[in-house]
């Protein structure tokens, strides 16, 4: 774990609009046998690089097990990266100790997948909302209370909810409390981990609208991690598609959805139910399931399911090709 190792690429490509610059980020988990010997590694993130521009919404999409949550948690310092750099607002935060990165982290916040589970069931909403301010600031109670009430209004909850316990409010409201809790610190970048999972569609729409409103109001940048492609299409400016720890396609949302280049992205898009379109039960072609991430195939990781696979795919691993405007894909044969 190198302390604040500065990657030459990072300083070269980080222009003033980039708020977060991730270079060659790796996170490998050890696979151990029953005696605790290391028998291999699970490459949850393998050479992931991207930049997030200030004020945009970058979507990270992929199926379960592709490493998208690991990415979010590594950015937050919940997992220590194996290698690579994470430059946030000009500072390399990869591999910093929790205490050293706490000040930086104030502006980089993480919204958990399950807001119900991340609120203490024995704390009232008021105490949960005060806590981040107690940790990060030296405001007095009245100042904190004022700020909490402002934020609560911004996320559309009545002030009366401060005296309720988490189990007394609905899932959509818990999600709003989770957001309010983050917003009290005025962050600049928020990692939203599956922010709409477990919500009904009617509630989901209002929550997404809230995200967009808050983004304008507080000048936020989002890293939007989700498996729901229709939501991602609607809300994100750019997307990165991940498959087994690698970014396989990256680009403007509209471009990627209109003309996906990577065969995996094509199958993923073909699998979204499209009301009014052709039924996927007639058209869907992809076979098989993702391979075991602890035992990846050689070369391209998608080749075992790919319809276009050739011998070359087994020999070497394709890099992200920048052959298209606003779009990159890691495939030898993509057109």
């Amino acid at each position: 774990m190198t302390d604040a190792a500065i990657d030459p690429n990072a300083s070269a490509s980080a222009d003033d609009v980039a708020i977060l610059d991730v270079r060659q980020l790796k996170k490998h988990f050890a696979i151990r046998n029953p005696w605790g010997w290391r028998t291999g590694s699970l490459k949850a993130l393998d050479d992931v690089s991207f930049t997030v521009r200030r004020g945009e919404i970058l979507g990270i999409v992929g199926e379960s097990g592709c490493g998208k949550s690991t990415l979010g948690k590594t950015l937050m310092g919940i997992h220590q990266p194996t290698d690579g750099s994470i430059v946030f607002e000009g500072n390399d935060i990869a591999g910093l100790s929790p205490s050293a990165s706490r000040d930086l982290r104030r502006h980089l916040q993480y919204s958990y997948q399950d807001p119900g589970a991340s609120l203490d069931p024995r704390w009232k909403i008021r105490r949960a909302l005060h806590e981040p301010l107690v940790v990060h600031t030296d405001f007095g109670y009245d100042e904190r209370e004022r700020r909490v009430r402002d934020i609560l209004q911004a996320v559309g909850l009545p002030a009366g909810h401060l005296d309720l316990y988490p189990h007394e409010i609905s899932g959509g409201q818990q999600r709003r409390v989770g957001l309010a809790r983050i917003l009290t610190l005025h962050p600049s970048l928020i990692v939203l981990d599956e922010p709409t999972s477990g919500l009904d569609v009617s509630v989901q729409a209002t929550i997404l609208k809230l995200f967009l409103d808050l983004q304008k109001q507080f000048n936020l940048t989002y890293l939007f991690i989700s498996h729901d492609l229709s939501v991602v299409r609607m809300i994100c400016d750019r997307i990165a598609v991940m498959y087994l720890g690698k970014v396989v396609e990256f680009g403007d949302t509209e471009t990627v959805f209109e003309s996906p280049r990577h065969p995996y992205t094509q199958s993923l898009l073909a699998a979204i139910p499209d009301i009014g379109g052709r039924r996927i039960t007639d058209t869907f072609l992809l076979e098989g399931e993702p391979p075991n991430p602890g035992d990846l195939p050689s070369g391209c990781r998608f080749r075992t399911r790919c319809l276009m696979a050739q011998p070359r795919c087994a020999e070497s691993e394709p890099e992200l090709r920048t052959d298209w405007p606003d779009q990159q894909a890691a495939c030898f044969f993509a057109e």
């Binding site: 609905s170 569609v201 989901q204 229709s230 139910p273 009301i275 009014g276 039924r279």
Partner: protein, 348 residues
């Protein structure tokens, strides 16, 4: 023999809870034709699982109370049939079940093969009703002939659900196969007893989109190929569009609209369903949610349960629940003020 396989009429079910009696189903109607795939769509807590469970006759005995109504399956009212007969002849044999959670539905300490053979021991289509009552208790050597036939049948079915290497899979433990494969096994088990109706309770919720697409394709193929009717409950209108011939939408324990799939997505007539379709994320449309929250079922709104959130609600909506009336071919809606305009994202 009628064209309808299942006909639920005015079914009311309530549960005793600590907070009072929750009126989970309020005079619900549902019709399933032979070989039809019917989607039961609704948000969480709308009673779709309760309806599925009442058809199967597996409501919790100590808290559930069936107030009124009938469930006519193949010309027999399942609510009047005595439980032992139901168990012997209908449940698991004529009506089978695909659960939502393929992880929790297998016993982790037995092999998949022994669990599937256990099913065949009790519910094999080779048994007649009288044998089914006792065959499970007989020692295995008693029916070696049948055991071989059953095993052959199981292997064929595993091949039909496109599982590679059926022999090897039977020897595995549930944790050794992936979620998608486990759901395929569940479909195989549901089809093995040659049922007339399969109740699939959100079978793809726990799966990834590409696996979901595979499973939907498989389920549709197998069900239509064998002429099995499916009651497919889901909260996702997109999934329902992909697989269903007919759709019933529920809200807070009342069914709101019943229609063939095309008619439904072309012209949703209930204010709730039309709002629900518009709250789906789309590229052109903005975000239109439904204001308000799902009501408590202990003290539900009187009349149409959607009226507190409905933009068209008038006085009569708050006092009396609308009766079903036709707005198109086979298209029934329970609303006093059905929506007539075409929604934005319509079927071409």
């Amino acid at each position: 023999m009628t064209a309808e396989l299942l006909r639920v009429r005015d079914l009311a079910v309530s549960f005793a809870t600590e907070g009072g009696t929750a009126k989970v189903l309020d005079r619900v109607n549902l019709t399933i034709g032979r070989g039809q795939i019917v989607g039961l769509v609704g948000e969480s807590g709308c009673g779709k699982t309760t309806l599925a469970r009442s058809i199967l006759g597996v409501l919790p005995r100590n808290s559930a109370q069936i107030g009124s109504g009938s469930i006519v399956f193949d010309d027999a009212d399942l609510l009047k049939v005595d439980p032992a007969t139901l168990e012997r002849t209908v449940r698991g044999r004529q009506i089978s079940f695909i659960p939502q959670d393929p992880y929790g539905s297998f016993n982790p300490v037995f092999t998949i093969g022994s669990q599937i053979m256990e099913l065949m021991k009790w519910k094999s289509p080779e048994l007649n009703d009288r044998q089914a009552a006792r065959s499970g208790w007989l020692p295995r050597f008693h029916g070696r002939q049948r055991y071989r036939a059953d095993r052959q049948r199981v292997l064929e079915m595993l091949a039909a659900v496109q599982l590679p290497n059926p022999d090897a899979i039977l020897a595995k433990y549930p944790h050794e196969v992936s979620g998608g494969q486990r759901q395929r096994l569940m479909i195989a088990m549901a089809l093995l007893t040659e049922p007339k109706l399969i109740i699939a309770d959100e079978p793809t919720t726990a799966l990834d989109v590409t696996i979901q697409a595979q499973i939907l394709k498989l389920l549709r193929q197998l069900a239509t190929g064998r002429g099995v009717a499916v009651l497919f409950t889901t909260h996702d209108l997109g999934t329902a569009y992909e697989i269903c011939d007919r759709i019933t939408v529920m809200y807070a324990g009342q069914e709101m609209e019943e229609a063939p799939s095309e008619g439904f997505f072309n012209r949703p007539s209930h204010p709730y369903t039309s709002r629900l379709l518009r709250s789906l994320p789309s590229n052109d449309g903005g975000l239109v949610g439904i204001p308000g929250e799902i009501p408590s079922l202990v003290n539900p709104p009187i009349g149409c349960r959607f009226h507190p959130r409905c933009e068209y609600a008038t006085e009569i909506c708050c006092s009396q629940r609308p009766e079903p009336h036709d707005v198109g071919v086979d298209h029934v809606v329970r609303c006093y003020h059905p929506v007539t305009e075409k929604p934005k994202q319509a079927v071409q």
